[in-house]
């Protein structure tokens, strides 16, 4: 073996990953090459010295912040999953109600009284729903104005509870996507905007946000959202990203992929 061929074997020997065959070859070379033997000894000593360097430790707040953000994220995911299940359940309940209503009409008994009662109860439910909606909006908006990124992340997870017609929450999410300094909050806000996918203003906001975003991970999330929403009107923005020399290569490729999907 030549001196050049020995170098990768030295690296393997430091990591304790030499095969018996390579170990034998290395020993043989070192026994006859004084220069490599000296270098192996010097570098081996430095390698051992590296393991003696004291490790830098993170502050205790790292753990606290992780569990806060983690719990906020998990709440958002759980709520989203539960409400999807809830929507399916509601559909079943609606169908049952229609069937029951038909049965009532066919039966023809107590119809007038039933209608009056239902109207009163529907009014209460509407009022209750409105109050709950306001409370969710209040929690979402106040959390999203907090200084701590973990709290803002929690606010974004609350946005999943908002009604798709809630324009104030939508505006707060759009503001977070466009202006939040924390990339995780921006990313979570893009995900939450999906809930508002049926809203024209939300789709416009996603398109505009793509033009102003610089973090590749958020750019990719925005592009994916535009594809999921089948937003064919985003072609000009996607073309700009795809041909932007300053953009990240992965983002440009994703934009090209999106253009193909939206054609």
């Amino acid at each position: 073996m030549t001196c050049e061929e020995i170098k990768p074997l030295l690296a393997e020997s430091w990591a304790g990953a030499l095969s018996p065959q390579d170990s034998h070859a290395l020993e043989q070379h070192l026994s006859v090459c004084e220069q490599c033997r000296a270098e192996s000894a010097r570098l081996g000593e430095l390698w051992r010295g590296l393991s003696l360097l004291p490790a830098d430790e993170p502050g205790v707040a790292v753990r606290e912040r992780f569990y806060e953000s983690f719990s906020a994220y998990r709440d958002g995911v759980l709520y989203r999953d539960t409400s999807e299940h809830g929507r399916r359940t509601n559909l079943r309940q609606t169908l049952l109600r229609i069937a029951a209503g038909l049965a009532l009409v066919v039966g023809g008994a107590g119809l007038g009284y039933g209608l009056r009662s239902n109207q009163a109860s529907a009014g209460e439910i509407t009022q209750l729903r409105s109050e709950v909606g306001s409370m969710r909006q209040l929690v979402t908006l106040s959390l999203m104005q907090q200084q701590s990124a973990s709290e803002r992340l929690r606010g974004v997870s609350w946005a999943y509870r908002a009604e798709p017609s809630d324009t104030e929450v939508l505006d707060a999410l759009v503001a977070a996507v466009n202006h939040d300094t924390n990339v995780n909050v921006r990313l979570a806000a893009v995900d939450a905007l999906r809930t508002f996918g049926g809203n024209r203003a939300a789709r416009e906001a996603v398109k505009q946000a793509l033009s102003g975003e610089t973090a590749p991970i958020v750019q990719v999330a925005l592009i994916d959202l535009l594809v999921d929403l089948k937003e064919t009107g985003a072609t000009p923005q996607l073309r700009r990203v795809a041909s932007d020399d300053a953009a990240d290569m992965g983002v440009r490729q994703r934009a090209e992929w999106a253009l193909e999907r939206l054609q």
């Binding site: 010295g49 590296l50 790292v62 753990r63 983690f70 990240d248």
Partner: protein, 191 residues
């Protein structure tokens, strides 16, 4: 139920399948290593702590993309690397190379004891720390992954997107560069 002895790959596969609470075990196992990786690259405690949060957040968000047949640490450090690049881009900061360090009054980032206190095996660990800090970022990164995180070369190859043979050569070159800086500093100290 926390699976204390479970393999990282198994735990991440369970996170991927929806058991999000298992991420806490992975956090406890890896957040210090990630912090060391970041602080060795950027020398900024606050930024490094933020980046640790970024990595775990991204692991959650992209949990469905995890392939349990591949090494978890390689996947995690790929995410870490990406997060670091994104922050650098975001902040218009830079990973400082050796040229930019010339002439700077470099403060060690750790609260490590001074050189007099930890001389060992004929080496001055304070100087070794300074030499490591003075290495160009790519060389420092590969030494952190191989020496501090004790990652297998094949996993490092997956993180860096190169062949395993290239990793071995790069580790060797990084050690040679470290040696030159170390002995340069030692000479300067003696004179």
């Amino acid at each position: 139920m926390i699976t204390v002895g479970a393999d990282d790959n198994v735990l991440m596969a369970r996170v991927s399948a929806g058991e999000l609470s298992k991420l806490a075990v992975l956090f406890e196992r890896h957040h210090r290593g990630l912090f060391r990786y970041f602080i060795s690259l950027n020398r900024d405690r606050q930024l490094s702590e933020d980046l640790v949060q970024d990595v775990f957040f991204r692991m959650l968000r992209y949990r469905s993309s995890y392939d349990p047949t591949k090494a978890f640490t390689a996947w995690m450090y790929q995410i870490a690397r990406r997060a670091n690049l994104d922050r650098v881009r975001d902040k218009r900061a830079e990973i400082v190379g050796i040229e930019e360090f010339t002439g700077r009054n470099l403060e060690p980032v750790s609260a490590a004891p001074g050189p007099e206190e930890n001389a060992s095996a004929g080496q001055d660990l304070g100087l070794l720390r300074r030499a490591l800090d003075l290495l160009p970022a790519d060389k420092r990164e590969i030494l952190i992954l191989s020496r501090f995180e004790e990652m297998k070369y094949e996993d490092i190859a997956a993180v860096l997107g190169c062949e395993i043979g290239a990793v071995k050569v790069r580790v060797y070159r990084a050690m040679r560069a470290l040696e030159q800086i170390y002995f340069g500093l030692e000479k300067g100290k003696a004179s």
